[in-house]
């Protein structure tokens, strides 16, 4: 038994889909084989910004083995319409134009045409035979350059919305918003220390190992089926319905196993093209991206410019903070600057705050969600300024954070008031950790060492819609159908909550992720919502089953249902100790008392997903000659509310940390003067490998989320937020030089040390 009296929650069972995944048996999107299958490929723009004057597909169509070629003219042209895709609000006209460019291409890699052929090689040959005539236009890839008057304009009809009102100004700034609380000027006047700094971050990619894929079959009755790897099958159904202008009832999405997403596998890219090609040919069509297509043709997370100013009194109290945040949206509006603004000062209780956010179009791929979207950029700025203030005041940076930490009742600058949160508890756990208490030995090899800390916040979405359908087998096991795609162990975390509720073992539940015709609408696996939101539905399902089993026992025992108790997994009649049975014992008889036992539950909880807070501690060693930063030790501390399966909570923390390390030290889209990404491969983009890292230590703090029956908070996203700032603070500790531009790659570190004599 684990703590808190739970039998299943807090234990570490082997995940239900584990054997399939270690034996190679699990079927991912690209693994599907169908009779008569054709293979598709995409023609992409070589220019970052150009008008499409003509597309001639005749040579491609005449190529032996080619079955169909499509362009944007085969897509219905749809009006502006906003839709919530789970982690972002998207304009569906833009979504359609991003799938196949109409009129203009807005980034290198923008899809312009699709081909279906008898095999992939023939399709790729045909792509080379599509002749596109372009009028090349001037391009802009940097956020500040794109905001300047006279910058090349991506959307001639787009006027800046400012403070909620559309202006007459045509510019690349899609939106400017402001959050204000108190009077920042007064707050800075009270402060004894005021620090204002500028920061830049570069475009980075989620880097999931599985490339995007979609296999479509549009049959003669007009029914479209798509097999794909997605974070949200129903979101894909909605997007297909809108982009292809067909009723949702004509679209079925079959979610196959998904090889990583991190927010990047919500928007559709290939799916509508594969559908058009299938409609044209009458055959199923499979499309998969190459790795360079993933880098250049899907949504990374934005580069950004931030200016942050914070002030504190000499007794260590934050009085005011302001932020100017300009985020690249990419080709179409919709950067995560709004989410970043909601997170930027949230670990702190600051009375006077002003935040100005700018969503700016540039000639890069349309950005997309990436694990706590917008928050990592923001924390890089705030957390290094907080480090500087702590140093000026001569206080320990974690003690400063505890003293100024947000707690229940603290208001966020963007409005909401915190419910019960674990911000201070998390920071205190870091402060008291063995790692932070240990002393950092000096390097014996001429290198320098330093320690850094940083905190981070992510909202965790408020539950969302989830559906679960169960049937009880006579042997007492339960088949559990769910709509949440399993991206990293949620079959287990949801099944465990059902098992806990009805007194079974995790292995007694058989979870299945099913297609959109087989379960109620379920929102995306994103926003750290699944173990919270679908787990909430699992608890409700357990409650429904208990009620139903009491009814069955009532019939079997001929006693009133309301006189039957359920405790410790056993049903019993209050007035006769003989009349009792476990869930399993009753399951074997229940079918005789009213037919098979089933339950269907859908939920959309009102409460909070439970804000997530993290504090990280890192020790680094720096080679002054090369500028390379090695990580000696890393500890991540995080409030998980209640850890359902601690191993997978640790895994989320470790994985998020390492993505944050990659973002902090090495990863970036490197653009040349032609607006072309020059490092669109894993070799050159260079994500962290085993050799770059130590073990990642974890400390799970549990401050229960009052909005969930078991206290669950989402855990997936916040661990990516602190690492770049923690690393910058460690580099400063080691060298005396502050780095305010990401990534802090060897050339940048080397240059900064040379310039600053560090």
């Amino acid at each position: 038994m684990s703590q808190n009296g739970h039998k299943v929650i807090g234990t570490r069972p082997i995940r239900h889909d584990g054997v399939d995944k270690v034996t190679g048996r699990a079927i991912y999107g690209a693994d599907i084989q169908l009779t008569g299958l054709l293979h598709g490929a995409i023609k992409r723009s070589p220019h970052p910004h150009a008008r499409i004057k003509n597309i001639d597909t005749s040579r491609a169509e005449a190529h032996p083995g080619v079955r169909a070629v499509v362009t944007a003219h085969d897509l219905p042209q749809i009006a502006d319409k906003l839709a919530d895709l789970g982690e972002a609000i998207v304009n569906l006209r833009d979504a359609s134009n991003n799938v196949l460019a109409y009129g203009k291409v807005l980034y290198k890699g923008h899809a312009v045409s699709g081909v279906a052929a008898i095999n992939l090689h023939v399709a790729q040959e045909a792509v080379e035979l599509i002749d596109v005539e372009y009028e090349v236009l001037p391009h802009v890839t940097g956020v500040l350059e794109a905001m300047e008057d006279g910058a090349p304009i991506l959307h001639e009809d787009m006027k800046t919305t400012s403070m909620g009102e559309e202006t007459d100004k045509v510019s690349n700034v899609a939106n400017h918003f402001q959050h204000k609380m108190g009077e920042p000027d007064d707050g800075f006047a009270e402060a004894d220390v005021v620090i204002e700094r500028e920061f830049t971050t570069q475009t980075v990619h989620q880097g999931y190992i599985e490339t995007h894929n979609a296999t479509a079959h549009w049959n003669e009755e007009g029914q479209l089926t798509i097999w794909t790897s997605t974070q949200g099958a129903f979101s894909v159904r909605d997007q297909m319905s809108e982009i292809l202008q067909m009723p949702v009832s004509k679209v079925k999405i079959v979610p196959l196993e998904i090889g990583g997403g991190f927010g990047g596998k919500i928007s559709v890219y290939l799916d509508p093209v594969a559908a058009l090609l299938s409609k044209r040919t009458g055959h199923p069509v499979k499309m998969t991206m190459t790795r360079d297509e993933v880098f250049e043709g899907t949504g990374p997370t934005p580069g950004s410019y931030l200016k942050v100013k914070m002030g504190a009194t000499s007794d260590g109290r934050l009085t005011a903070a302001t932020a100017y945040m300009a985020y690249e949206a990419g080709a179409y509006p919709g950067s995560p600057v709004g989410a970043g603004a909601g997170c930027i000062f949230t670990p702190y209780d600051i009375p006077n705050v002003q935040i100005d956010g700018y969503d700016v179009c540039v000639n890069k791929p349309k950005t997309n969600a990436y694990r706590a979207p917008g928050a990592t950029n923001a924390a890089y700025a705030t957390e290094t300024v907080v480090d500087e203030i702590s140093e000026k005041l001569g206080v320990d940076p974690l003690e400063f954070r505890v003293k100024n930490g947000a707690k229940e009742g603290t208001r966020r600058a963007d409005g909401p008031v915190h419910p019960r949160i674990g911000c201070i508890e998390t920071t205190e756990a870091a402060l008291n950790s063995e790692h932070y208490r240990s002393s950092l030995a000096k390097s014996g090899n001429g290198k320098v060492r330093g320690r850094g800390v940083a905190s981070g916040y992510w909202f965790n979405f408020n539950g969302g819609r989830s559906a679960i359908s169960v049937s009880i087998n006579p042997d007492g096991t339960i088949n559990m159908l769910e709509g949440s795609t399993d991206i990293g162990g949620t079959r287990a975390s949801i099944a465990m909550q059902l098992a806990e509720t009805i007194g079974l073992e995790a292995t007694d539940i058989k979870p299945y992720v099913v297609d959109t015709d087989s379960i109620g609408y379920t929102d995306v696996t994103g926003g750290s919502r699944t173990t919270f939101g679908t787990g909430y539905a699992a608890h409700a399902t357990g409650q429904a089953l208990i009620r139903e089993m009491k009814e069955r026992a009532s019939k079997l025992w001929d006693v009133p249902a309301d006189a039957i108790d359920f405790e410790d997994g056993v049903f019993s009649y209050r007035d006769d100790a003989e009349k009792r049975g476990s869930f399993k014992e009753l399951a074997s008889q229940a079918g005789d008392a009213g037919g098979p036992v089933v339950a269907q539950v859908s939920t959309n909880p009102d409460g909070s997903g439970g804000g997530a807070f993290a504090t990280h501690v890192v020790d680094v060693e720096i080679d002054r000659e090369t500028g390379k930063v090695d990580i000696l030790r890393y500890t991540a501390v995080q409030d998980a509310g209640t850890a359902i399966h601690p191993s997978y909570v640790e895994g989320q923390m470790q994985g998020g940390v390492v993505q944050g390390i990659g973002w902090g030290l090495n990863e970036e889209y490197i653009y040349n003067d032609e607006g072309s990404m020059t490092n669109a491969s894993f070799l050159d983009y260079r994500m962290p490998t085993t050799l770059d890292l130590p073990m990642i230590e974890t400390i799970i703090v549990e401050v229960p989320n009052e909005s969930h029956p078991y206290g669950v908070r989402g855990v997936g996203e916040v661990p990516i937020v602190p690492p770049p700032a923690a690393l910058a603070n460690a580099i400063y500790d080691a060298t005396g030089v502050r780095l305010r531009d990401l990534p802090m790659s060897p050339p940048r570190v080397q240059k900064a040390l040379a310039e600053n004599g560090g």
Partner: protein, 156 residues
């Protein structure tokens, strides 16, 4: 399209013949023609290791080997390393240590780790990290993968 070539191999202990175009990679043949989809394509240029197989005792990226080059070779894929009823110790340790999240890189890691333990049954953590640096995982941060491999030492 060029003329297909007849290739004779041994895959997971069984004689397997196939026809392929000279331009087809071994990965394509395994996945598209032989229904061995445990090897995954993450990059198709040898950077991620998701397609790794053991060929005549050597760890290779099957995306960087041509199907025709496999003629006369013995190949072990993830499907040949263990089955649900008879898991290899590495597979068991990956499960126990929760060393996978999305699972797409897992077959490649297990094949690579098997090749390591075949060559060095008792590697140090540094040796494990050095050997596995050719396999990318984006979910786990590698901690639990390295622990699983260390825990499988000598049991393999």
């Amino acid at each position: 399209m060029s003329k297909k070539v007849h290739v004779q191999t041994t895959i997971n202990g069984e004689a397997v013949d196939f026809l392929c175009e000279p331009r087809n990679s071994l990965l394509e043949v395994l996945r598209d023609d032989l229904d061995l989809t445990g090897a995954k394509e993450g990059c198709n240029n040898g950077n991620c290791g998701a397609c790794n197989v053991i060929m005549d005792g050597r760890l290779v990226n099957s995306c960087c080997v041509l199907g025709v080059e496999a003629d006369g070779c013995e190949i072990t894929t993830i499907e040949g390393i263990g089955s649900a009823a008879n898991l290899h110790p590495l597979q068991q340790k990956f499960l126990e240590h929760a060393a996978l999240q999305c699972g797409i890189c897992t077959p490649g890691f297990i094949v690579s780790a098997k090749a390591l333990l075949d060559e060095n049954p008792n590697p140090s953590e540094d040796e494990v990290r050095y050997w596995l640096a050719g396999n990318l995982c984006r979910c786990t941060g590698y901690d639990k993968i390295v622990r699983a491999v260390l825990d499988a030492r000598n049991g393999a």
